[in-house]
């Protein structure tokens, strides 16, 4: 028996992560925890190291130092596909979709870790493989419906509007039934109406019991939906707390509104 999720004080633990790019200290000894079932946002000005931090959690970059734990599994040193195998799934700021494939096929990719059929089972169309395919298609239908993609399911992703492409990215990550979702600037490029819809959806995803870590530029979105916020500046964590505390934090205000010493 594994321990039920809620006995973990924190689902994701980030401990003293460091990353250098040449002489640039992109992420400087950043530590924080993400408790299960909450929305946590990482904010900061351009170049603060948010995306670098994300890429280290998801296995795309190897940290110069420090560790990331998910539950009590060490994620640091794993390949991105192995991180996904543990239940941590991400979306991309610059959408990464297969434009020539249908919406359905793009989203079904999210079910990859839920299946087992390999090359041989696929080539021989073994019963196991066909059953898995059917189950996967059934599993993603509610997600398609929820994101209003059902009618577009056979459309090539390249023919979709930007907003719908963003929705496909989200749907793909959700199809994996993730314990933890990493959203990299999910509102980038969306209009106000779409951003509001997204805010609603992210909160609904949390209410389903999933944990969300997001990097975002849109301040009002972050303040509206986040349970906790971490602020980065020049690679360092300068503040952490509830949205209200962050809004009142003098250093954060100075960074965002520009200080006298600038």
């Amino acid at each position: 028996m594994t321990k039920p999720l809620n006995t973990f004080n924190s689902l994701l633990q980030i401990q003293k992560l460091d990353k250098f790019f040449g002489g640039l200290h992109a992420v400087n000894s950043v530590s924080f925890d993400v408790k299960p079932g909450i929305i946590k946002a990482v904010i900061g000005p351009n170049g603060a190291g948010k995306t670098t931090l994300f890429n280290m959690i998801a296995g795309y970059y190897t940290p110069g130092g420090g560790q990331v734990f998910f539950k009590d599994i060490l994620l640091t040193g794993m390949q991105p596909f192995q991180v996904a195998g543990k239940g941590v799934f991400r979306t991309f700021q610059n959408l990464k979709l297969s434009h020539r494939l249908s919406v359905m096929n793009n989203i079904l990719l999210g079910r990859h870790t839920r299946g087992q059929a390999g090359f041989l089972a696929g080539m021989l169309a073994l019963k196991k493989s066909r059953r898995e395919e059917k189950e996967a298609e059934e599993a993603v239908l509610p997600i398609l419906e929820w994101l209003n993609l059902l009618e577009l399911k056979d459309t090539e992703v390249g023919n979709l509007s930007f907003g719908n492409q963003r929705a496909v990215e989200l749907a793909r990550a959700l199809a994996a039934d993730p314990a933890m979702l990493l959203l990299d600037e999910p509102a980038a490029g969306l209009n106000m109406h779409e951003t509001e819809e997204l805010a609603q959806r992210i909160q609904e995803i949390r209410d389903q019991g999933r944990t969300i870590l997001l990097v975002e530029h849109d301040m009002s979105l972050v303040m509206e939906i986040s349970d906790e916020i971490v602020v980065l500046n020049f690679g360092q964590k300068i503040a952490e707390g509830k949205p209200k505390e962050i809004q009142d934090n003098e250093e954060v205000i100075r960074i965002y509104l520009g200080g006298d010493d600038a």
């Binding site: 596909f81 990464k96 079910r111 059929a117």
Partner: protein, 366 residues
């Protein structure tokens, strides 16, 4: 079941063509159709690697040669007069040796091609695996160059080794008894059965690949073509998948080389040449890249014309020009989706097509 309809159609076309050649008295065309079929097996294998998984290979002729030369070498060893050796007894006891009489009445004892088929597949698979692990980390034209380098190495090996017959290649390769009473060989008397064996192999290959494309693994391969990072993020072990699909392409090429060698009764170094590899890439490109049926149709048309000598002295040049033209103007190929779908679309009343087009535009304007 629906996905197999086009395969049934293919089977019907194969039979119709054979009957037509019989009626019109042009049965000699079956020879080129048979050889085209074997080249198609290489092309559809490459289509999976290049069109679907997005990994270019300019070394398929090398794998074809591995298959062909493995069997040519192994089945031309004459065991007659070596009945006392341990190896002979080891092979003879389970019935792995075939005794034959030559035209001059001599007796030849050779290894059954079933064993060399196994060897050909294994050697090609192991080579592709060992080669694939380091070079599939490369992308785009770097990968193309690395695979081409491999092709050149194989070419130089077969050209420079005495055991592979140097520039002459290996001849007198025995026939391959696939089914009782039916052999893969260039005999005039077995022209029709050989035509069917070759196309049966194409159908078998198509079935395996169609199944693969429509499976979990197939989707992962196509996605890694679209975005490798995204496939990684969704838990696909992309480096492993790339190597395995490369191995599959190599095995297809090796099996084709094996059959072709028994059909022709020999193999020469030109089959391993880079010009041949370019052909396969050109066929997949002109067939629409991620399109098995396109590769099959273009593989049939171009190889058939080439083997009939239509391109004359410019044979290799034609394929080169096709490749240059495709890369410059239509890198995604002529045929975009399923051919059957295209034909259906063409046959639909114009009014219905307009309606669909309008709907598509609305979607993209959304």
């Amino acid at each position: 079941m629906k996905r197999y309809y086009s395969v049934l159609l293919l089977a019907a076309v194969i039979v119709i063509i054979q009957v037509l050649t019989l009626i019109t008295g042009k049965a000699y065309l079956l020879t080129q159709l048979t050889m085209s079929a074997y080249y198609i097996v290489v092309a559809v294998g490459l289509c999976m690697v290049m069109g679907y998984a997005g990994q270019i290979s300019l070394g398929q002729a090398g794998f074809f040669a591995i298959g062909g030369y493995t069997t040519a070498f192994l089945t031309t060893i004459d065991f007659s007069g070596k009945a006392e050796t341990g190896l002979y007894r080891m092979l003879d006891t389970p019935g792995l040796l075939i005794t034959k009489e030559t035209l001059y009445g001599d007796t030849i004892i050779h290894l059954t091609p079933w064993i060399s088929l196994l060897a050909a597949v294994l050697i090609a698979a192991v080579t592709a695996y060992a080669l694939g692990i380091p070079i599939l980390k490369l992308k785009g034209h770097y990968l193309a160059m690395a695979t081409m380098g491999f092709g050149i190495i194989i070419y130089r090996i077969v050209l420079g080794s005495r055991i592979f017959g140097e520039a002459d290649g290996i001849s007198n390769v025995p026939s391959f008894p696939v089914f009782p009473g039916i052999s893969v060989s260039g005999d005039f008397t077995s022209r029709i059965s050989n035509y069917y064996i070759a196309w049966l192999l194409v159908i078998l290959g198509m079935l395996l690949l169609i199944n693969l494309i429509n499976s979990r693994v197939g989707r992962a391969l196509r996605s890694l073509h679209g975005s490798e990072e995204a496939s990684d993020a969704m838990g696909v072990d992309t480096s492993r998948y790339k190597v395995i699909v490369f191995v599959i392409g190599a095995v297809f090429a090796a099996v084709a080389g094996f059959f072709m060698t028994h059909y022709n009764g020999g193999i020469g170094p030109s089959e391993a040449g880079v010009a041949k590899s370019v052909r396969y890439v050109a066929i997949v490109a002109v067939g629409g890249m991620a399109n098995l049926w396109g590769s099959l149709i273009m593989g049939l048309v171009l190889n058939f014309l080439s083997l009939r000598g239509v391109f004359g002295h410019f044979d290799d040049a034609v394929f080169g020009i096709i490749l240059v033209f495709m890369m410059m103007f239509i890198p995604d190929g002529f045929i975009h989706t399923d051919v059957i779908h295209d034909i259906k679309e063409m046959l639909r009343p114009l009014s219905m097509r307009k309606k669909k087009l309008k709907k598509k535009q609305e979607v993209s304007n959304d």
